[in-house]
Every structure is written in C-alpha cells, then in structure tokens.
Amino acid sequence: MITTIKETDERFIATLSGELDTAAAQETEVALQPLLDSKGKEIVLDCTDLEYISSSGLRVLLSILKQAKSVGSRVVLKNVNDVIRDVLDISGFISIFDVE
C-alpha cells in the first residue's frame, strides 16, 4: 500500500495505490494523518490505483470524512474502480462521499 499526499492552495490530493486491506489499514491511517487537519481545504482521494479495500480501509476514509465535514469541507473519491465501487455501494459510503 503506497500513499502520497500533495497539498495545494485549495486542496489536499492523496493518491492511494495498492490494496487497502485490514493488514494495511493501520499504516494507511498513519500515512493519511495530515488529512485529519485539512484546514477547510477540499480533500481529493485519487483511487486510480486502489485495487482493493476492506472495512478497515473504509473506517480510515470515514474518519477523514468526519473531520472534513466538521470544518465544512468535503472529500472527493476519484477514479474509483468497480471493485471499490461495489464496496462503497454495499456499505452506503457512496452516498456520503463525493464519488467522481
């Protein structure tokens, strides 16, 4: 699991690549720590290379979302593949994230 975060004036762009399974959740959570302080900027999660996500991964995304919502920001999931979309569908996350 590889994560990179880029910060611009308007937004945070985090690139997630690999498999965000239970084993990778903890390190990913740590890696995405900066996003928990988004300072009101939009957060874009680029999922182009994200192949797999488990409920632990969803939990990481949810904590980012909750923080962003609390400061009036939003979280955009970009380029979500079918596998990830299925999981978002089932979990209902598709309606609380901005999925593009």
Binding site: D21, S55, S56, L58
Partner: protein, 703 residues
C-alpha cells in the same frame, strides 16, 4: 341436484303411476263392460226362462178351467132339462177345480117361462167347504146388458173376461164364459166360471231369479192382472212399470229397471212382464268393480312407493357416483400436488423416485443443498392414502424450513418430531432418515427415526451402521442419536422404503434385502454407473419380481453419491493476528488462480472472507490469547465455499445486527461493516458450533 330437476323427477314419477293407474283402470272398465254384457245376456236368458215357465203355468191354469167347462158340459146341458136340477149341476161344475170359486149359468131371456125373463143361478164355494146356489138375476142385475154376455152371444165363442176385483177381500177374478147350445146349435145359455187369480201373484213371484225382480201380468189392453204383493214391491213402482210397458211413458222414472215382455199365445192373450233391477243384477260385479278400484289404488300406491324408492336409490347412486368423481378429481389434484413436491431435477450426485401405490401416498424423499452440503431424507408414513399424504406434505415443508438453519440431522429429526407430535390425534407416525453429506469432504452425518438402514455401495455392498431411533410422531421429547462417517470418493448411499423390501409377488414372497443385494451386485458389474440407472434397475427388478401382483405399498428410492471429481481443495492455518490477513490474501489469490473466475467477483469473495476472518480474530479471542484460525477452501468449479474454523469462544457473526447504511457521515458507526460486507458479497453464510469450535462457512456461486 337442483330444485327443478328434483321437481321434474317427482312429476315424472307421479306421471308413471298415473299412467299405470289409467291403464289398469281402462282394462278394468273394458272387462267390467264385457262381464256386464255377459251378465245382461244371462239376465235376459233367465228372464226368458222365467217368463216361459210363468206363461206355461198361467196357460195351464186357464186351460184347466176350460177343461173343467168342457168336461161338465154334457152334465150341465142335461140338467138344463129342468130348472131345478141346474143347481146341482152348477155345484158339480165348480167342485172339481180349486181355482174356480163360482159358476153361473145365464139363460137367454124366457128360456124357462116359469122363471120369467131373466134366470141366472150362481153357485159359490163357502169358506167352510159347503156350496151355495143363488138366483142372482133381477131388475138390478140384468146380465143381458153385460158386455161379456153380449160379446159371447155375438161371436158365438168362449171368452175370458178381463180381471176384476170382487168380494169383501177384493180378490182378483176372471171369468170364463162359454156358450151352451141346444141340439139345433142355438145358444140357450152362457156358462161362466169365476177363476180366482189370487194364486197368480204368488206363482208369478215365487221363483224369481233375483230377490227384487218381479213379474206382472197385463191384459192385452194393458190392465194389471196380477203382480207382486204390496210388501214385495210398492204399488207405485208396479204402476210405473205398467205405464212403461204400455208405452204410456217414453222413459221410466225408475232408472236401473229393465224388463222383458211376452204374451200368452191364445185367449186371453195376457202379457207377462218380467222386471229386473239392474243394480241388483249387476250388484255383485259392481261390488267387485269397486273392490277392484280399491285394489288398483292400493297397487298404485305400492307402485308409487317402489318407484319412489327406486328413483331415490338411483339418485343416491348418482350422487355417490358424482361424489366419487369429485373425490377422484380431488385425489388427482392432490396426487399432482404431491408429485410437484418431489424434486424433479437431479444433480449428478443424487437421484430418487417415488411410485405411490394409490393416488396419493405417505412416502417421501427430498434433498436440499446449501453451503456445499447435501441434506437428504427419505420417509414412510404409517398407513396409506390421504391421511398419510397429509403427514407427508407436512414433513416435506418442515424439512425445507428446518434444514435452512440446522445442520445436524439429529436436530432436524428433533424439530420434525416436535411438530409431528403436536396434535397428532390420529396417532400416525413416520419412519424417517436424514443425512447431511459434505459434498467436498465426504463427511456424512446422519440420524434415523426407525427407518431401514441404507445400503452403502463402494466396490462392494454393505449396510450403513445406523442406530434406529423411535419413529417420528411417537413421543414429543424423543432425542435422536446422530452418527457420522467420512465417505470414500465414489461411495453411493442407497435409501429405500419398505415398498421395495416388501414388494410381493403373487405367491406372497417378498423381494427383500436379498433381492436388493442381487440387483445391486448386478448393477455394480454393469457399465452404466449413474445413479439414475441404479434407481431404475432396482425399481424394475422389484416390479419384475412382483409380476402380476398389485403394488401393495409406495415404492421410494433415493441414491446419493459422494463424487468429489473436478473439485479443488486447499487450506491454510492462520494465527489469530490481523497481520495474517496478508497470508490469507495470498492464499485466496492462489486458490482463485486455479479457478476461472472474474476479478471483480474474486475481489468480493476475498473481501467477504477477510472480513469474516478479521471478525473471528476480533471477537473469538477476547482475552488476546494465542489461537488459530483454519480456512478450508473448496470449489467444484460452480461454487466456492470457505470454511473458517476456530477454537475461540462461541461467536456467531451471523447473529450480529447490521449497521444502518443510510445514516449520514457524522452518525455513521465505525464498526459492523465487516459482517455486512460478508453477507452481501456471499450467497450464504452459515454458522455452527461443532465439537467446541466455531465453524463458519461462506458460499458463493461463481458460474
């Protein structure tokens, strides 16, 4: 039966009775008329006979008077020589004839100059038997003016007078007047004989053919000469008859009277009239006719009753037939429903048949596969027909409901038994066998409720070691012993009901286990080893054995085979640590690599498995003790099944509540998503606690 048809039936029955009555009545009338005619002829005949006899008698009596006259003529003539001797001659004249009461001799005027112009001595009989002679001519009795005297003088021949009444008793008389001539042929006197006619009435009506028939005598002019006495027939009736006979009235006012007439052939040419009362003459046949009417009414009543009973029976029969047809129809429907209950499509590893002895039966076989396990059962309700079928239907539903949630055959039997014992007033029971075959491992668990032990076919033939428990429906709290074994690949289990073992031939011999065994041996040596062929060969053998003998019981066969060909199996043992998920992922990927499976589907299955395993790691070991989680992966190319086994505390993830996926971000709980994903991504998740272990199996169709 509708009201209209009932009414029609009723009317037609009445119609038949009325028609029959009319026909009988018609015959009766014709016969009556014929008999009446015969009797009328008979009556006329008898009447004619009576008349002939009477006519003879009267003629005879009158002739007797004429003879008396002739015999005494000489003596009378001789006495006339002197007037004083005439008296003795007259007495002599009347003495010889009992009917003659008096006799007179009326001389022509001045015959005896000494006696004056008129002279008529008249002799009469006294009651004491003496005679008296009087000279009765005088100024007040001038006989020459008498019509009779004149007539005889004129005609010069004897004459009978019309009858007349005379004397204090008003007795009827008639007088025979005879001209007496001298030697020159000149009439010198007319001799009269008074003949008492009182005997005539008695004679006439002494021998009548019928009690109230009577006869009267009339003069040619129609005056009554003699008739029945007043106490016999009233004068009024007699007068009526006289009038009618004389043609004075066209029609008699006395209905039912018929009469016959005849007349004497010579002087005085009296008419004899025989009168009958038709009513009396025909009284007997009329009485008979009245009786006949009563008989006819009686017979018709009986006929009506018989017809009524007959049609009622007919109607009942019709009703029974309709009822039979209705029941047959319903049975046919029931039979179809029951057939529909049975499995119709068979995968290669199971096959069964059921041939009911009647329209509906009490046998059952069924199977149901889930989570890579085949649940199969066979049962036989005590008795046959509808009651057995009802119980059979009940167990059919129960089997499907219970096996959805329960793995253990003993528990399945327990559940079925509890239900069947509820309100089992008819005390029906059922032998039953349930098996659960793991289609991947060959693990077979089973329990028998008093059912025949199944056969096991490997290379040889043996019988499954099965403990026989009580049948279902006997006691509600029966516990059932469950047994298990592991089948070698290719092993076949053959289940049957007693319709097979107890199939009888005409000599009442049973097919028996020996028959089954022989057939199985023959099957094993054959080339077609499919289960369909096995079942068919057994059924055929049983029928061939029974021959002409009717099938006495339902015949049910079920064959199950453990056939793990084309199966892929793999397993891994993980520690109860989340880092092991990486190993799990590799394991799953390798397993899927052996299957032709879509990536998206594979990812879903992998996620479901990962979530389930993480759940076990999270909850089954709450004290963070070291433990293991074993994963068994199975696939037959059509589905995959993962079995997760751990020895942690009992934990059923399927019992956890699902999170609400419609809540917004702020209110979303962090946990609970794992089991939701597992459930949604797999076809089924089944938890059981077995031998102190949690066993969770996840199944998904991949084709």
């Amino acid at each position: 039966m509708t009201m209209a048809s009932f009414k029609n039936g009723w009317m037609s029955r009445v119609g038949i009775v009325v028609l029959a009555a009319a026909m009988v009545e018609l015959i009766s009338i014709v016969q009556y008329e014929r008999v009446r005619k015969i009797m009328q002829e008979e009556m006329r005949y008898r009447g004619r006979v009576t008349l002939a006899r009477l006519s003879d008698e009267i003629s005879h009596a009158l002739e007797l008077a004429e003879t008396t006259m002739r015999e005494n003529l000489y003596y009378v003539k001789k006495s006339m020589a002197h007037p004083d001797s005439v008296n003795a001659a007259m007495i002599h004249l009347i003495d010889g004839n009992s009917h003659v009461e008096g006799g007179c001799l009326a001389f022509i005027p001045y015959y005896y100059p000494s006696k004056g112009r008129l002279f008529e001595p008249y002799a009469t009989k006294n009651k004491d038997g003496t005679y008296e002679v009087q000279q009765i001519a005088g100024p007040d009795h001038d006989y020459t003016q008498n019509g009779e005297y004149i007539w005889v003088m004129d005609h010069d021949e004897p004459s009978w007078t019309d009858p007349y009444k005379y004397g204090p008793d008003s007795v009827s008389f008639t007088t025979y007047s005879y001209p007496i001539k001298d030697a020159s042929g000149k009439i010198i006197a007319i001799c009269g004989l008074d003949v008492n006619l009182s005997w005539l009435g008695n004679t006439l009506n002494a021998h009548q053919p019928y009690p109230s028939s009577f006869c009267i005598v009339l003069t040619p002019a129609g005056d009554l000469v003699a008739g029945p006495s007043e106490d016999q027939i009233s004068a009024q009736v007699v007068q009526e008859v006289v009038s009618f006979a004389n043609g004075d009235i066209a029609q008699s006012d006395l209905p039912g009277l018929s009469m016959l007439k005849t007349a004497l052939h010579k002087e005085p040419y009296w008419q004899l009239v025989q009168v009958f009362n038709n009513d009396e003459a025909f009284a007997r046949i009329q009485k008979q006719r009245r009786q006949q009417v009563i008989y006819v009414i009686l017979c018709m009543a009986i006929l009506g009753f018989v017809i009524n009973r007959y049609t009622k029976n007919e109607r009942n029969l019709l009703k029974a037939t309709e009822e039979q047809a209705r029941i047959s129809g319903e049975l046919a429907v029931a039979s179809n429903i029951q057939k529909e209950m049975l499995p119709k499509e068979f995968p290669s590893y199971v096959y069964g048949t059921l041939e009911p002895a009647r329209e509906v039966g009490g046998d059952i076989f069924d199977f149901y596969a889930r989570d890579g396990k085949l649940f199969f059962c066979i049962g036989d309700v005590s008795g046959k027909g509808v009651p057995a079928a009802l119980l059979m239907s009940m167990t059919h539903s129960l089997f499907h409901i219970v096996t959805r949630k329960v793995d253990s055959p003993a528990h399945i039997l327990y559940a079925l038994n509890s239900e069947l014992c509820r309100g089992n007033e008819a005390n029906m029971f059922m032998t039953y066998f349930v098996g659960c075959l793991d289609l991947y491992s060959g693990e077979l668990s089973y329990a028998s409720a008093g059912h025949d032990r199944p056969f096991i076919l490997t290379k040889g033939i043996s019988m499954l070691e099965a403990k026989s428990n009580l049948p279902l429906g006997v006691f509600p709290d029966t516990s059932f012993v469950e047994q298990s074994c592991v089948l070698e690949p290719g092993t076949t289990i053959l289940l049957y009901t007693d319709g097979l073992t107890e199939a009888k031939n005409v000599a009442r011999q049973e097919f028996g286990r020996s028959g089954i065994k022989a057939t199985l041996e023959h099957f094993l040596s054959g080339s077609d080893q499919t289960l369909g062929s096995l079942v068919t060969s057994l059924s055929d053998a049983a029928h061939a054995f029974a021959g002409e003998a009717p099938q006495s019981d339902d015949l049910t066969l079920l064959a199950v085979r453990f056939d793990p060909e084309n199966q892929i199996r793999d397993s891994i043992l993980l520690k109860n640590q989340k880092s092991e998920v990486t190993r799990l992922s590799s394991f799953v990927k390798e397993f899927f690599a052996k299957l032709n499976i879509d990536h998206r589907l594979a990812s879903g299955i992998r996620l479901a498995l990962e979530e389930a395993v993480v759940n076990v790691i999270d909850y089954a070991y709450p004290y963070e003790e070291e433990g293991t989680v074993s994963i068994q992966a199975d696939s037959n190319g059509k589905e995959v099944r993962f079995t997760i086994t751990d020895s942690g505390v009992p934990f059923d993830p399927t019992a956890m509540l699902e999170p609400d996926t419609t809540l917004d971000a702020q209110n979303r709980p962090i946990g609970g998503l794992g089991i939701l994903l597992s459930r949604r991504l797999m076809d089924s998740i089944y938890y059981s606690r077995k031998n102190g272990k949690n066993v969770l199996s996840l199944t998904k169709t991949i084709l």
